[in-house]
């Protein structure tokens, strides 16, 4: 590992030691954060997989119903019937923070849930369409739930990746670098000290020699 390019002085040594301590503390904190994020992520992702499967089944069934309903009605009449929806599928959006990762919270608006589902009169449409739309409306809360949890897992996955990279950078690059640099500076200082000591001894020897003569 390459050492940092620094002057081997005491001041740099103190600075490096301080930076090493900070890096180690940061590393520990980030590692804890990563572990906790992964723990929560695994819980969420399992739930996500279950909900997705459920949505795929139920929505698939609902859409099949709908296709069937379309088949027994004229396209024009169908479009006309659905031209103006009876309710707006309104949702509210909040946000919450998972370890300072901001994630959305979606919920169905209660008012729009309680409103009637069918946007048309019953005279000109088929009974299948009524059923299909009702099933769709039933799937809707599940879809909203899926949206929330899927976005959350997506955001968490990004954050985990980022945190992991930071942890690794600290663990395998920054910290060894600091340690090497500290060792380099310490050795250089010791070497200088020894040099100075030898020089002093040499000078003293020479002085004694001169005094003896």
């Amino acid at each position: 590992m390459a050492i940092l390019r620094v002057n081997p002085t005491r001041m740099e040594l103190t600075l490096m030691k301080r930076r090493l301590v900070t890096a180690k503390r940061g590393h520990k904190l980030l590692k804890d954060k990563r572990d906790e994020l992964v723990r929560r992520f695994i819980v969420l992702v399992k739930e996500n997989a279950v909900i997705r499967k459920q949505v795929e089944q139920e929505l698939g069934a609902a859409l099949k119903d709908f296709a069937l309903a379309r088949a027994v009605m004229e396209p024009g009449a169908l479009h006309q019937a659905l031209l103006y929806p009876a309710r707006e599928a309104a949702i509210t959006m909040g946000r919450r923070s998972i370890l300072s990762v901001c994630v959305p919270v979606f919920a169905m608006d209660e008012e729009s849930v309680s409103k009637t589902v069918l946007p048309y009169g019953l005279a000109e449409t088929s009974a299948q369409l009524d059923g299909a739309i009702e099933t769709m409306a039933k799937v809707l809360p599940l879809l909203i739930q899926l949206a929330e949890i899927e976005k959350t897992t997506g955001l968490l996955a990004d954050e985990i990746q980022k945190t992991r990279r930071r942890v690794n950078a600290l663990e395998y690059v920054m910290i060894p670098q600091f340690e090497e640099t500290i060792r380099y500076i310490t050795m250089k200082l010791e070497e200088n000290e020894r040099g100075a000591l030898i020089r002093l001894m040499k000078v003293k020897e020479m002085l004694e020699e001169r005094a003896a003569n």
Partner: protein, 110 residues
């Protein structure tokens, strides 16, 4: 903020999204790559937080989807189309797991 109401958006083949229109979502029929990404960008600009997109359509615009990955305000969720699921949504989920953990823990379970 919490009480503001938002609508949902749906993008995809007309057959599939008509059903969503019936329950009050903003449905934009789109089949080509250009139409789909324009629809997504438009909905996102209008502040629609949840955009459902049929899997067949999502396959065409994975780059556009990636743009919204990091943005909290727009969740783009692939849903099965009229022909049922083709596994694109599940694939995205698996990709996320691999990205976060480094191994696919979902498939091993099943």
């Amino acid at each position: 903020m919490a009480n503001k109401l938002f609508r949902m958006g749906v993008v995809g083949e007309e057959d599939a999204i008509l059903a969503f229109k019936a329950i009050g979502a903003i449905a934009i029929p789109a089949t080509t790559q250009e139409e789909i990404s324009t629809a997504i960008h438009r909905l996102s600009r209008e502040g629609v937080p949840v955009i459902f997109i049929t899997e067949a359509a999502a396959r065409l615009v994975s780059e556009a989807l990636a743009r919204y990955d990091q943005i909290m305000e727009t969740a783009i969720i692939p849903i099965p189309g009229i022909k049922g699921s083709d596994g694109f949504g599940a694939q995205l989920l698996r990709d996320n797991v691999i990205k976060a953990i480094g191994a696919d823990i979902l498939t091993q379970q099943n």
